[in-house]
């Protein structure tokens, strides 16, 4: 029998073994990455809306309180997207003939509702309740990010389960005084590391067993 393979095959075959392993590892790593990327979570993607409503202008610039539009955020699971009427409260006086606002006026005239593109969209088997989170000192910015600097709103967090669990496992790291919930600038005081833990006790936030029970979010 003469040689079947060339000298180089020895090196090649060994390389191919290690190469295979490396490629396998890489794929896993990439898959994991993609699952957490904006492509899947859709975080960080600004959405086109029927009207180029700028939170940066209204909330940031003019400092309108979140609750002026999102009225039910303290009472209901749903924070509420304001009815056309709310826009018209002001825009019947100011910018009352700006072409940009025509859709709003026509909606108000015709009673034809505006339809906004949903930005924060949880799977239908997840039940999130705004009111209790707000009540227990979770700030708007904690999940929604610097909305007051967003010309067009985008999803700030991944909204994936592991992300929810971060806070449900260690609420102390994320909550703030109730009066600071709607303050977009609030930063945890550097001089008072124990604040979170105190608030958890004060607000009677349930222990981890409760917060990580399945039925708290899934029904």
């Amino acid at each position: 029998m003469s040689q079947i393979f060339h000298r180089s095959t020895n090196t090649l075959s060994r390389l191919s073994i290690f190469g295979g392993l490396i490629i396998f590892g890489l794929t896993l790593w990439i898959v994991a990455g993609v699952n957490r990327s904006g492509y899947v979570t859709q975080a960080g993607i600004a959405r086109e809306q029927p009207i180029q409503f700028s939170h940066a202008h209204h909330a940031g610039g003019m400092g309108i309180d979140c609750r002026y539009c999102h009225t039910s955020v303290e009472d209901s699971a749903f924070a509420n997207v304001p009815p056309t009427k709310t826009c018209m409260n002001c825009h019947s006086q100011i910018w009352s003939d700006s072409p940009m606002l025509e859709p709003v006026r026509s909606s108000f005239r015709s009673g034809e509702a505006l339809s906004w593109t949903r930005v924060h969209d949880l799977p239908d088997f997840v039940y999130f309740n705004h009111s209790i989170h707000v009540r227990q000192g979770v700030g708007c910015a904690t999940c929604h990010g610097p909305v007051d600097q967003m010309p067009l709103v985008y999803q700030y967090s991944s909204l994936q389960m592991e992300w929810c669990l971060e806070c449900h496992r260690k609420p102390g790291r994320f909550i703030r005084p109730r009066d600071q919930v709607f303050n977009m600038e609030w930063e945890p005081p550097a001089d008072d590391p124990g604040l979170g833990a105190r608030l958890v006790k004060e607000y009677g936030i349930a222990d981890v067993e409760h917060l990580t029970s399945c039925s708290v979010c899934h029904r």
Partner: protein, 487 residues
């Protein structure tokens, strides 16, 4: 000496005693130490090498091969159709219901896994027990193991409601949900046990193949076959040093595979023993399942070996002695299984637990009594004829018994799963189970897949371990190292 012994341990016939008795005998007649020959007379290294490798390399497959392959391929297609329909429509196409939430799916899983056991058993345990006769059957028994396992895993995956999730949620991997498998569940134990079993069996099988792949590489004339076999052989050249490590590794594998094979069916039996269902919740299950597995496995090996040796004229290598030994093992394990049945019944009465008592009564007299009595006939009564030597050595009888036992072992799982579930605790939720055409098409589909893999295997790989057969030849006996030292 101990070391040398350790290494020698297990390879073919052990001949220490004789060699030391007659230091100047160069060759010892095989008949002297073997009760009956495990290899036909008149064979040399060359002849058996050529005969076995020819099946793969030169001989054009006989007509029956094409027929068989075609039939099993058709069945495999049926399997694919069934599974596609299953995934698109749902488990509802089967007869499963509440209370009988498991039926054919898990029956088939356990049945296939059981069949798988003979392979590893023959390769590992018989090796450790120095049973030289295992040599000519271990190769395709191992192949059988692999194929049976690959048929088996189809069921736990596809019987789930959402296989596209079960496929990976059952394995621990870091995920965006921060969730992990629930390690108290016997199903997770299954995942680990069966995966391990499959991988280790594959490794074991491949290691055993390497020298033979080298043989095929060196025998093949066609360039492509040389390349393929050459790559698979990984440049094996039969170096003494390689052989030495090879033996060690193979022996260690055997030592590891033995507890593994016992653990796998034990874990499978936990699926039931850990449950609270009367008829499942029994401590006797692990040993009784393992015995049953070996029982089923040997029956299947017989059912395959008998036709194969005839069709390929391998009577020289798979001799009557092989078949008879396997028949004996079948008989013994069969008796253990019968003991298991007896104990189940006894516990049912002795436990004084009304649910257990009712379960036994329901098996024997309930709506599924037919399956229980059929099982008793197949597994307890029919094999007893193997006590008689001339029936045991009659190939046709042996073949038929093997088939009966295979059916019986399937029925055993039917009785355990369906009959126990259909009437458990609350009379109000008692129900019946009736299989649908899709239950059968999936089951027979896997049989098709199994046979097709078998046909492909005997076509492309040596179904008998060539290099191990060589060691059985008288010429393979060499004198003691010590004798050489004196030189």
């Amino acid at each position: 000496m101990a070391k040398a012994d350790g290494r020698r341990w297990g390879w073919g016939p052990n001949t220490n005693e004789k060699m030391t008795d007659y230091p100047h005998e160069r060759v010892v007649d095989a008949t002297e130490y073997a009760p009956a020959p495990v290899i036909g007379p008149g064979h040399t290294f060359g002849s058996l090498t050529d005969k076995i490798s020819a099946i793969v390399l030169t001989r054009r497959p006989p007509l029956w091969w094409f027929v068989g392959a075609a039939v099993s391929f058709a069945l495999t297609l049926m399997l694919l159709v069934s599974l596609t329909h299953l995934v698109l429509t749902g488990v509802g196409i089967w007869g499963n219901n509440i209370p009988v939430a498991w039926a054919f799916d898990i029956i088939n899983l356990v049945w296939w896994i059981g069949i798988g056991h003979a392979g590893t058993l023959i390769s590992a345990i018989l090796l450790l027990l120095r049973q030289s006769w295992r040599t000519s059957i271990n190769r395709f028994a191992e192949a059988m193991t692999l194929f049976a396992v690959s048929c088996a895993v189809i069921f736990p995956l596809f019987h789930t409601g959402r296989p596209w999730l079960a496929a990976y949620w059952l394995f621990p991997y870091p995920n965006t949900m921060g969730l992990w498998p629930q390690f108290r569940s016997p199903l997770i134990w299954d995942v680990f046990a069966i995966t391990t079993y499959g991988l280790v069996s594959l490794a074991f099988w491949f290691v055993g193949l390497i020298p033979d792949l080298a043989t095929l590489r060196d025998r093949s004339t066609n360039r492509w076959m040389q390349m393929v076999y050459g790559m698979l052989a990984m440049g094996w050249r039969g170096s003494a040093i390689h052989w030495q490590r090879y033996e060690t590794a193979y022996l260690l594998l055997a030592g590891l595979a033995t507890p593994l094979v016992l653990s796998v069916h034990t874990v499978v039996s936990f699926d039931f023993a850990v449950g609270i269902v009367p008829g499942w919740h029994a401590t006797i299950f692990p040993p009784y399942f393992v015995a049953g597995a070996i029982y089923a496995g040997f029956a299947m090996v017989l059912a395959l070996a008998i036709p194969l040796r005839a069709l390929y004229g391998l009577e020289d290598f798979i001799t009557n002695r092989h078949l008879e030994n396997m028949a004996k093992i079948t008989l013994v394990t069969g008796l253990i299984v019968v003991y298991g049945y007896a104990m189940e019944a006894f516990f049912g009465w002795y436990s004084a637990n009304q649910y257990e008592r009712f379960m036994i009564l329901n098996r024997a007299t309930g709506p599924y009594a037919w399956s229980y009595w059929a099982l008793i006939f197949c597994n307890a009564i029919a094999p007893q004829i193997l006590w008689i030597k001339h029936l045991r050595t009659n190939l046709l009888v042996l073949f038929i018994v093997a088939l009966i036992v295979s059916v019986g072992m399937w029925l055993e799982r039917f009785v355990i799963i369906v009959t126990s579930l259909h009437r458990d605790f609350l009379p109000s939720s008692w129900g019946m189970y009736y299989p649908t055409v899709w239950d059968f098409s999936t089951f027979f589909g896997t049989i098709g897949l199994f046979l097709m893999l078998m046909f492909l295997f005997i076509r492309v790989l040596p179904m008998i371990s060539i290099f191990e057969m060589r060691t059985l030849l008288p010429e393979a006996q060499v004198k003691e190292v010590e004798d050489l030292r004196v030189l």
